[in-house]
Symmetry: D4
Subunit: 227 residues, 8 copies
């Protein structure tokens, strides 16, 4: 098992993750001080590899830029990308769907993470089940993708409906979009877990990143299986 590690005291960096898991390194930014985050980014910068930071605040991003690091920040998806060599392209493609407009930030976290990992992504936004004709018009396009990421808040029914319409694995992402009895995403989380449709698995509330990793592990599997 490849397990090179760099111990910074506050963090032990996994320097051989790509070799071990097939997907490049990422950083979970919350709870890291600006000094810690910059310290971590420098290690990767010196190593010459790209890295993606998720849930990055604009303050963290600004500080990274001010420290002279070569980074790109996307405020909508809260992702920070340290420049580096592009990953090998993954085979197949990922469809990212949302129930509504308010789910787009989570969907973009998924889409940009997948793109960082080398996956082609197609976006289908605001296709929630309240107006079924919106979804039905896209269904042939969605079916062409190899993995579907269904992002929805409120009652989260998009996951079930999509999983019933396609052959491919569907990864459902509940979002905290909603109010009252959505209890910050509990409602769509339970919906997706209890789906009467098959072929659906679920990640944490607002976890676009996790859905993208799972999608890319699947695409990676296709690549590896036929090499």
């Amino acid at each position: 098992m490849a397990d090179e590690m760099k111990n910074l005291g506050f963090a032990r960096l996994d320097m051989s993750r790509e070799e071990r898991t097939g997907l490049p390194e990422t950083i979970y930014c919350p709870g890291k001080t600006i000094e810690q985050l910059i310290g971590i980014l420098r290690v990767f910068s010196e190593k010459g590899t790209a890295v993606l930071g998720t849930r990055c605040t604009s303050e963290q991003a600004d500080a990274a830029k001010a420290a002279g690091l070569s980074v790109t920040y996307d405020a909508l998806s809260r992702t920070l990308r340290l420049d580096g060599p592009a990953p090998a392209e993954l085979p197949g493609s990922v469809a990212v769907c949302t129930g509504g407009t308010a789910d787009i930030p989570v969907a973009e976290e998924a889409a940009r993470t997948a793109e960082y990992f080398g996956a082609p992504v197609e976006r289908f936004y605001d296709v929630g089940v309240a107006g079924l004709h919106r979804l039905i018009r896209c269904v042939d396009d969605i079916r062409r993708a190899h993995v579907v990421i269904a992002v929805a808040g409120m009652e989260g029914a998009l996951g079930s409906v999509v999983a019933g319409l396609v052959k491919t694995p569907v990864i459902a992402v509940p979002t905290s979009v909603g109010y009252g009895a959505s209890f910050n995403g509990l409602s769509p989380l339970l919906s997706m877990l209890n789906s009467c449709a098959e072929g659906l698995s679920v990640v944490n509330i607002d976890n676009g990143f996790g859905a993208a990793v799972q999608a890319c592990r699947i695409l990676n599997l296709i690549r590896n299986h036929h090499e």
Copy 2:
């Protein structure tokens, strides 16, 4: 306000409910001893009015029959009906839909309650969203109804999808069908409350009866409005 009441000690019977609310009397059977239930039925039997008991066990029903009361029991819906004059027919009709086969007992409680109140009922069972073509084939028929009762467990997406397809009021009934993270119906309850579709209101888990009362109050309104 019509408020004739008969006090049996353990129960105070509302003898003028039909006059006051437009809908005939019903009995909630759980927690009543067999003696209490028979006592209540006798009061209505002597008055010469029909009455519907809900959530009635087969033991309660058998005891009522053994006591010489003229009753009919339906085990699937757990309803017990004391014979009496048929109610005036309500205008319009009620569509009762279910997500799956296991939701039928709750749907039948709704359907039989509505029929007891005088409403014509049409049943659309096993039209859940995992196989959308099942629902879409029925949608023109469902649209013809005046009120729709959507009964579903698991993730309860049926309510949202139906409400997006019809013009009429939809009353959603979450059921305790499911397991694990359905938490005995919490999952479809939250889904239905958080529906991104409009035109949906919700009753308690497994409360087919309550949905039927609400539907019949609506039909009654049509009748009253034009008398």
Copy 3:
């Protein structure tokens, strides 16, 4: 099925909703950027139809005004109305009741939405059950309405008490008014779902909008039934 749609990328607008559902278009404002909201309003402005935005912040409203759109904002109910032709008046009327003064913002969301849809509305505020004589003095007036919307926080008993006093359908709206064990509206939500009174159905916590849609679908049904 009328299903004209306009795809803005971040939103797919349902341009034929009024034709399909009998009620005009509305916009759920949360989670939409100012640019997105203005983009959507422009589409309707150009089409020449009115539209109602709910849960609109004052920042969103100010931006819409600054963008030259002809809109009216009501801060209490957080509704934003794009000017346009008035809807056809609905038959019947809606009574909107609140338990207390603090429930009025939610009640006003319901009342203004119903008015936007063309329904006459009568308001009965601060008639909670702790001082029953306040409610009893209004009960004859409330009974004259065709649909009752009962808005209450804390223990939410207003729904049950009202539903026991009227013949018409009651739509109960739990509010997040309260503290401690109200758990942001969970307490009145559960109360309303478990009502021992009949003829009550429930919408999401603080969802005045949803109650109004359901009420207007009912009034619309009266209109359609007799056309």
Copy 4:
């Protein structure tokens, strides 16, 4: 502080509770083996004092009788009384009200406990808020009591409505009567805790016993204050 204690190994009996708290001894029967329960009853029997067991099963009661103890069992309230001298009568009286028939077992636990402690009790059963005229007819009688115990399941609105109608302290007892979103009594518990009415305090779900103790401590206070 009077603190005579008898240690049976599995239980340390408080032999001077009446002296210390003003109210005689009681036994919580669940989780005690038949041998343990009989052992405890014997201690009190030998001491010559009465004692009341609550939540006693019929098996426990039968075993106590078979062991030759002079006990009386009431199956409805699940109370077992070891014969002994009657307590001094408490001043004032307790009104015990229920929302419905199914709440009566809990109400009887309260009523019989209060009677065991020497309090006069008046019962008002099935006066729930869904048919307000039932309650209003009794309200003058209820007002004559010194303490009111309001027992209700489902949405538990009885507590609020009663507390708004009387001057005396109201002790609310939520019951597990109901189904679905009552979550075994959580719904009326939250209702009673969040009451918009004043003068209401709450005990555990189905805890008729605890309500009676609180009521009798209040009556005892009247007695002591004027001795």
Copy 5:
């Protein structure tokens, strides 16, 4: 039943509460606009009666003063008192105890409400069960009170321990003091409801006001019983 009412549109003021319930009027301030609050205060000011506002913010209080009303504000307990004739003194006394220092604001809401109603109050602060000797040193003083209000957050054990040491009714107030698994007061709320001690009833989390009303209804009962 005395039921004089004044309808301000946004509020229906109960002008005869003291006559009906024996305790003077109070105002729940949250969710009222400054205009509404001042409007209500003016009604009572013109009537010449005192009134107590609870959970009043300093902004509300400042505005009331600026409007020329004769009010006194206590920031710790968040109570606002409109000057007026002092109430008749209640017989007996109330002991207000807290587990810790952080519970004092809730305790002061209870103490000042009780004092407003005319009850003598004695305070026992920071007597939590972690250092039992602190409580035991006060126990003889606490026993002299007629009603005990036990205010505690975290695990809320104070209620049980105190109820086991006194003869009088104990009203337990859980507070939101704590963090993590206290879940904003759920932990002490459940503790107090499940107390193994007798003679305890419970009000909402942080509801010092409600505890004081219940305590004063009890003292009022002593007064009335012997008039």
Copy 6:
């Protein structure tokens, strides 16, 4: 879209699911009467296709056999298989791991469902994280699988640990194994959703079936991608 359907009244059978989704038909047995289940099995028997019933009770299985249907029942996994042509073998393989012995029934539901769909399955039971050496000894074998299903109750840490050790997608199945604060599987469900490891998605508590469908959709994708 292939959408042949057979309407039995209580169920609408999806006769072209294999064509549409790539995986053969299955039946969810709970909530179906014996008559309903046999009716459904007969349809498939007459069509000459195999079908797998999940969560089947021994009573249902015995009745199916008694009705002359050619079925095989496995009590441990509660699966019932109607004999029929074997499916085409899927490429790759599925590793099914459990934390403990008590998780095996859920794991077997997953394993037998995957085998019914044509996937080779390897079992790794009782490799929970409390004794890490048990898992580490198997890790090279687990890595050879194309998809990993990690089944665990109690704290459900197996999912995280496995996902950190392999490159392939991991589907985590929380089980209801445990007691107390596992709250019937809530604990492992939350653990798996909050995993700090990447490459993990989650299905419902005890939903071995759902994990297998997701795994086989992934394997099916490999097949389809290269045809």
Copy 7:
């Protein structure tokens, strides 16, 4: 690291746990078939070591005896002990306290597990905080123990009170004793986690076993520190 393992297919037995952790082997019996349990016991029997099974049903115990294994079963604590050499005695002692009689089965699980591990145990049963004098009489004896295990249901205040009275580590075990708002042990669990007393840590609801292991690890530490 000592890591001898025996793989039975359904279970991988840790044959060197005593060497690795200092405490002998135990078996968690739930979810194991009788055949599996006997198979595991035989492995240890053949190895000649004692083993303790917890949460063992009487059916499992009877089957083990019938299979000729030399075992002892204690129904109260649900422990099954396979005979074998006694462990070396641990230094110090463990005090096991309960709030009430109904907590004794959990306490006995703790006590017998600790005894199996070689720790001297002293029992203090029914010393709950409702009658504080019962606890205070024992406190000098409890202080002499090296570790205290505090077992309590209902509100679980025993943990806090004891931890405030002793210098030693206290391990608190919430039990499912109680009803209503104890929510199967949630109430004492939260109490113990939120204790205002220091020196308390908590194990799962009803987990007497886990408390004993932690206590014995502590005693083992004393032994090891001074060898």
Copy 8:
């Protein structure tokens, strides 16, 4: 029992805690006004003893410094230390481990509290189970400690994995690190309570302080046992 107490009105200071419990005094800062906190610090300053304040805000710390008190503040761990004589060193050592970087503030609260009590502390940060090789590299060092404090958020698996690798008692601290379905630390709390590993006990979410007290009571026990 040593029980010297100083009553400040708002707080009753335990002046003999060290004598009674073996560990010096600490202050829980939340909910204390700046005046109260300074008042308490002055008492200890005058007595000449050190004291540690936990969860201290920077405002509180600045005010203490401005008041002329000799204090040291650590912002990361939110601890404030009043200078005073160093405690006697405790025997043995404490290992403090974290799952990730974001758990460090809680870990530092534990570490600094333990150091204040006289315990040697070794830190192992960012050794979470997603990259098991990070933990395995430290395991021999962790085993050398006498007590292990395992601090982790998200799924909190660190506790189980560590407890399975060491002989010593493990005290698990769930943290509120995470989002979505971590529900502010509920997820790791449940994980740690349901651990399949033995030798683990748990404190409140984010309660590094409580873990340190428990650890030091254990070390103190070693000291006392051999004096």
